[in-house]
């Protein structure tokens, strides 16, 4: 039981909790307590330190901008206006708040507000669903499309869309890069032939990929009922992110241990069996390393691409909030930043677990 839970924890990347299990079990309490403090408490301390510094910085910026505003009112409108402005800022009135880096507390408030907003919207959605249920049944009977909710998406919906875009992009990247990588890896001449192209396309910026995809998709898909922005952004994400997998796959396939290939030769495996029974299993660890990099790159470029492609998602959320310029917009942007970071971290952990699952102990084969 104990060993099993330790194994699971390590597998999902929560290995720092291991000493806690030993402590509960009553094993070498002192030693494990030190280990736990090192593994789990030190990161927490650093997070608190970060929040403290952030808070101090935000306060300094806030005061600096408040002073500027008061000073401006004084030089432009006189002493009375300056006093009014000071009172206004102190009262917390929305119209005269300094617009700067929000403090951690404000970000937390924005987070609560976003959550509340999500609850409101989902309530509205379900109300709408109930309202149109009868009509939709009728429409379906007549062979018409049902009426769908077209209101503003909530923050959580945006996250969902972003995840969908990344998933689509990742699948596309995998479907393109792994087979091509295998083919290129198997043949020296193909590898030489494609090497330059790969090296040239690899560093191209996500923005350029987006424009390129836009040019093509705009021409290919003329039907206005199809959601082009989703297609464009997912394809761009896929194209940006696939290079790591492509390079890793071809490297993995081309560097399969010669001993394994000799076994295949002696057994006279045909080419299909050689690929599926020897080459692919031997290069799986490297392929999955590539896929893991692909996921993190995909998530990173997604925000920029969504921002430009006007496709719904976290990227456009950030952009809209920035354009919006409301009192809590800055705080919402920072909430989005943390959400993006945390989701990226979780995705990476998931891929790491999959990678560990696929890796065999090569060193002592």
């Amino acid at each position: 039981m104990k060993n099993k839970s330790i194994k699971t924890l390590k597998f999902i990347g929560l290995g720092f909790l291991e000493p806690l299990i030993h402590i509960i079990d009553g094993e070498e309490r002192r030693k494990n307590a030190t280990r736990f403090i090192k593994g789990a408490l030190l990161p927490l301390v650093s997070i608190f330190l970060f929040i403290f510094l952030w808070h101090q910085g935000a306060m300094a910026l806030y005061n600096s901008e408040a002073n500027d505003r008061i000073e401006k009112a004084r030089t432009e409108q006189g002493e009375q206006a300056a006093l009014d402005m000071k009172a206004c800022i102190a009262s917390g009135e929305v119209s005269c708040q300094p617009n700067t880096l929000p403090s951690p507390a404000k970000v937390y408030q924005a987070y609560i507000a976003l959550w509340q907003d999500h609850l409101n919207i989902s309530e509205k959605k379900s109300e709408f669903k109930d309202k149109v249920a009868a009509t939709n049944a009728q429409r379906e009977a007549q062979g018409l499309d049902p009426i769908t909710y077209t209101g503003r998406p909530s923050f959580l919906d945006q996250i969902g869309t972003s995840l969908k875009t990344v998933a689509a992009g990742f699948l596309l990247a995998m479907l393109i890069a792994v087979p091509i990588g295998i083919v290129i890896g198997l043949s020296d001449s193909l590898r030489t032939a494609f090497n330059w192209l790969i090296q040239i396309f690899k560093p191209v910026s996500p923005v350029v990929w987006l424009l390129l995809v836009f040019m093509v998709v705009k021409t290919v898909i003329t039907d206005p009922s199809i959601d082009k922005s989703f297609i464009i952004s997912s394809i761009s994400v896929g194209l940006c992110a696939m290079w790591a997998t492509l390079v890793n796959t071809s490297m993995g396939v081309s560097s399969v241990d010669k001993d394994y290939l000799n076994v295949a030769k002696v057994l006279k495996l045909n080419i299909g069996q050689n690929i599926f029974k020897i080459v692919l299993p031997a290069s799986l660890p490297l392929i999955f390393t590539g896929l893991r990099i692909t996921v993190s790159v995909a998530w990173m470029v997604l925000i920029a691409i969504e921002l430009l492609a006007q496709s719904p998602g976290l990227g456009s959320f950030v952009w809209e909030e920035f354009q919006n310029g409301a009192n809590d917009s800055n705080a919402k942007i920072i909430v989005a930043m943390f959400v993006i970071g945390i989701i990226g971290f979780i995705l990476d952990r998931i891929m790491l677990s999959v990678q560990n699952l696929m890796t065999f102990n090569k060193g002592i084969a």
């Binding site: 001993d259 000799n262 030769k265 002696v266 057994l267 006279k268 084969a365």
Partner: protein, 294 residues
């Protein structure tokens, strides 16, 4: 005519200045059911020789004949036991053997294959470890898997490339006995490459030394007439064993010594004069200048 014949075989690697004539003028004939050991120094081209026989390499000159026909490539008729086991680390013991059996006995039913695989795993005493991965096994156990995999495809010739050289002395002894037992039982033709003369005498019918490379060739053969089964402890008292061991070692040391003489080139070193700090002589003007270092 033997089952396997090598006629005037030579093999060269590289070209130009990197040219390395590894083997030259190799002649060998192996009879059906014979156990031949090829003994040589490390780096003399033993692995190259066995790769010529298993078909992973082709000779530059001469020919390698199996049943009178030249070898066109590797094949399961020549079972190969590699020095570094060459097990697939992502497959279990069972699956490693199964990979070979699936390939060679395609017509067998699933049940027959299973029985076949288990029989050979049992033969090398690995039944308790049948579902383990190679990384969970010791070196000796891994080599046993390799032996089972090779025997399971029922080759007509068994090629062993220093199969036991990476193992400790105890495991080595047990595996030697096991291989001999299996050989006695299956009566296959075996070519064993080794750097251990004692191993050769213990196991083989004939011992052929390979002279040190480059241009390695086979030396005179030594027939081992000691009666089987040979026991290691009794072997040490056997006068025939002592004589044979001395002869072979003497021969190997002799050829080793001649190799040394051959490669005893004179190296002409460039004449160097030390540069004294503080006295640097400049080109044509030959003006002495003091250089301050500190």
């Amino acid at each position: 005519m033997g089952l396997l014949e090598l006629k005037n075989v030579s093999k060269t690697f590289g070209q130009g200045i990197n040219k390395n004539e590894v083997l030259s003028d190799i002649n060998l004939s192996v009879e059906d059911g014979e156990f031949v050991a090829i003994v040589g120094f490390s780096g003399s081209g033993k692995t190259t020789l066995i790769n010529l026989i298993n078909g992973l390499l082709f000779p530059d000159n001469g020919e390698v004949l199996l049943n009178g026909a030249p070898i066109t490539g590797p094949g399961p008729d020549r079972g190969m036991i590699f020095q570094n086991y060459s097990l697939l680390p992502w497959l279990s013991v069972y699956s490693n053997v199964k990979l070979a059996v699936d390939e060679v006995f395609r017509k067998l039913s699933k049940k027959e294959k299973d029985a076949h695989i288990r029989k050979y795993i049992d033969m090398v005493n690995l039944t308790p470890a049948v579902d383990k991965k190679p990384s969970e096994l010791s070196g000796g156990m891994r080599q046993r898997v390799s032996v089972a995999r090779t025997l399971a495809i029922n080759p007509s010739i068994l090629l062993m490339d220093e199969p036991l050289s990476a193992l400790d002395a105890l495991t080595r002894g047990t595996l030697q006995q096991e291989i001999l037992k299996i050989w006695n039982h299956e009566k296959k033709t075996v070519i064993l490459i080794t750097n251990d003369v004692d191993e050769g005498i213990l196991m083989a019918d004939r011992i052929i030394p390979l002279t040190p490379g480059p241009k390695a060739t086979l030396g005179p053969e030594f027939k081992v007439t000691i009666e089987r089964p040979r026991d290691v402890t009794q072997l040490n008292q056997n006068p025939e064993y002592k004589r044979l061991r001395n002869d072979i070692l003497e021969y190997l040391i002799d050829v080793g010594a001649t190799r040394k003489q051959v490669s005893d080139q004179k190296y002409i070193l460039p004449e160097l004069k030390p540069v004294m700090p503080g006295r640097v002589v400049f080109g044509s003007r030959r003006k002495k200048e003091a250089v301050k270092y500190f």
